[in-house]
């Protein structure tokens, strides 16, 4: 065996994972994110109490930092005496799933739009990009608020509203990526050997445009979660008695003046940690997958 063949062949994915592993901040983000997911998905196992177990006798009690703490209620209770820690764990399932479903919607619709616009060009491109321009004409949260508000209340409406808001961004990212790949020589070669359009799209264009999509998805998920909580906070997303983080904050807000700060503090910390972990991971992924963007600020 010669020296040369000792080099291990690595796929692009393996290469990215190696890059990512070297990036400490990204790994911290990933670890935080996994911890949050495990805790929230496993809420029935980890939560010490039920999220709806109310008892007015133990309403608005502080947590472990105070002598007034009820044993077993580590982060204190809300105004109805429900365990805050349990509600946060269960609430994460709601807030995070709104973010995820919204992102999924934007991914499917947005990338299809961007792919068609970029690949086919011409009239299709003009029409699709005008639709994108129109959707971009609204400030993001305002559009989400109007859509969710007019459709009615509830998390399904919030999911759709946020999904629609992120669709044009996804479409633009995808279109940009496709435009670059379309001009490469190997796509030209595919055309030359008579490959079908669907083969070129699914075997070549799509896999090669995945890098920016993954990076943007991670960063978009971070803002989608913020928006999900904001809609809950404003009253058009999740409805009471859901333990959704934004909604919990909005209710706990009324009890701030009485000094019960914990009920309004910890759901916010949960949102903050989730969003930070995604931003850390997203920045790391960007450095690993897309060296050209390295050090660039998030737009």
């Amino acid at each position: 065996m010669t020296e040369d063949t000792k080099f291990k062949r690595r796929t692009r994915t393996q290469d990215t994972i190696r890059q990512l592993k070297k990036n400490k901040t990204a790994m911290v983000g990933l670890a935080m994110l996994l911890a949050i997911f495990i805790l929230c998905i496993g809420a029935p196992i980890f939560a010490p109490h039920g999220p709806y177990d109310a008892d007015l006798d133990r309403g608005s009690k502080p947590g472990f930092w105070s002598d007034d703490c009820i044993p077993g209620y580590y982060l204190g209770t809300d105004y109805l005496g429900r365990d805050l820690l349990s509600r946060i764990l269960y609430g994460g399932r709601v807030t995070l799933s709104v973010g995820f479903v919204a992102l999924g919607f934007a991914l499917i619709v947005g990338t299809s739009m961007g792919m068609s616009a970029g690949y086919f060009g011409g009239k299709i491109d003009s029409i699709l990009m005008r639709i994108v321009d129109i959707l971009f004409a609204y400030p993001a949260l305002l559009l989400a608020l109007v859509i969710a508000g007019t459709l009615g209340r509830g998390i399904d409406k919030a999911m759709l509203a946020i999904g629609v808001v992120y669709t044009p961004q996804m479409a633009r990212v995808m279109r940009g990526a496709v435009l670059i790949i379309k001009e490469t020589e190997y796509i030209e070669a595919e055309h030359a050997i008579g490959s079908s359009t669907s083969r070129i799209i699914f075997k070549h264009v799509l896999p090669n445009s995945l890098a920016p999509i993954i990076v943007y998805s991670t960063l978009m998920l971070a803002t989608a979660i913020l928006d999900a909580a904001a809609l809950g906070f404003l009253g058009v997303g999740a409805q009471s008695p859901s333990p959704e983080w934004g909604l919990s904050l909005s209710i706990a807000r009324k009890y701030l003046v009485t000094g019960a700060w914990w009920a309004a503090t910890f759901p916010g910390v949960a949102i903050l940690l989730s969003v930070i972990s995604l931003n850390l991971l997203g920045d790391g992924l960007r450095d690993a997958l897309d060296p050209r963007l390295k050090g660039g600020a998030k737009l």
Binding site: R130, A137, A140, L141, T150, G246, V275, I276
Partner: protein
């Protein structure tokens, strides 16, 4: 360049037509009969029919859209279902409050963001750099409404140095000239009102400024780092110019160009942020107005507000792009 601006203006018309169509359809697709919404559940069938006739609700939907659009172009969006006031007038009344809040927030965000970004870039990988970057990470990840609540709890409830909300302490008198209370109290030389209105606005402005501040700091840093690596900067250094002069006289000018776009883009973000901050601090501005209208299913308000804001937003974006063109002659738009 003229060609580019003309082309953009032509596109603007298409985008605005689309925006008006979406806004109209979205609100009309909402559940409930507008006539019933207007009259309440107990209205007689006759009365409902009368209203349907009066407001063209029996006409085909495209006729309704045409009528609505014709009125909208004249600035007439009808009356609010809740207050029975003209939507346009209610919006105009609330503009100064939100404008004042956003301006102060934008000034705080730009000044601190740019300074922090420059320090961070000039001392790359120093403790200050890490401090700024960690701060910026927290900034972009912060739920605005939570930050607002925490600020309110610390400064208003615990320390008692700022009021919990509103624009002026009840009973305080201030002559209304522009509707921006800080400006009005300066114009009328009303010292007490000035201090009071600043106290009321400081927490909401800081809350609203956080996200733009973080994005501006990040953008300034990366833009500055890029500029500092360029040849002309090396030339300046080789010429023996002091580091201070290199950074503050030469690098900064080019580094700040992309920041203009970031500040322009943040206008939309501010509008979303204003909805949340005004709700938390009970400020009677545009953000609270639209949030209340949506919760009350006040459709004329939602339609009018959305259309006006999308228009303003599109115009601001266009203005930013054109401004960008002027300050950076290297950019050529096709």
């Amino acid at each position: 360049m003229k060609e580019y601006i003309l082309k953009r203006l032509a596109m603007l018309v298409i985008v605005l037509l689309g925006v008006s169509l979406i806004t109209f359809v979205l609100v009309r697709a909402a559940p409930g009969d507008p006539a019933v919404n207007l009259l309440g559940q107990h209205a007689t069938a006759e009365k409902i029919e009368e209203i349907r006739e009066k407001y063209h609700l029996n006409d085909p939907i495209y006729v309704q859209y045409y009528i609505w659009l014709k009125m909208a172009v004249k600035g007439d969006f009808g009356r609010s279902i809740e207050s029975r006031e003209f939507v346009t007038r209610e919006i105009m009344e609330r503009v100064p409050m939100t404008l004042e809040l956003s301006l102060i927030a934008m000034i705080i965000a730009s000044v601190i963001g740019i300074i922090a970004g420059i320090i961070s870039a000039v001392h790359q990988y120093s403790a200050a750099d890490y401090g700024v970057m960690i701060g910026a990470l927290f900034g972009i990840s912060m739920p605005v409404f939570w930050l607002g609540l925490m600020l309110m709890f610390i400064f208003s409830v615990k320390l008692g140095i700022t009021p919990v909300g509103g624009r002026l302490t009840a009973g305080m008198e201030l002559e209304r000239i522009t509707g921006m209370y800080i400006l009005d109290s300066i114009l009328t030389l009303n010292g007490t009102a000035l201090v009071d209105s600043i106290k009321h606005l400081i927490l909401p402005s800081v809350a609203l400024a956080t996200i733009p501040m973080a994005t501006i700091a990040r953008m300034t840093r990366s833009s500055m780092l890029e500029v500092l690596r360029q040849d002309y900067i090396r030339t300046e250094r080789a010429k023996g110019l002091s580091e201070r002069a290199v950074v503050y006289k030469h690098a900064i000018k080019n580094a700040l160009i992309p920041i203009v776009t970031v500040i322009g883009m943040n206008i939309g973000l501010l509008m979303g942020g204003a909805v949340l901050t005004e709700t938390i601090f009970s400020l009677p501005g545009l953000g609270k107005y639209i949030a209340d209208a949506i919760l009350a299913y006040d459709y004329p308000v939602v339609q009018g507000f959305t259309l006006i804001f999308a228009t303003v937003f599109v115009l601001v974006n266009l203005a930013t792009d054109i401004l960008y063109l002027y300050i950076d002659p290297r950019i050529k738009y096709k």
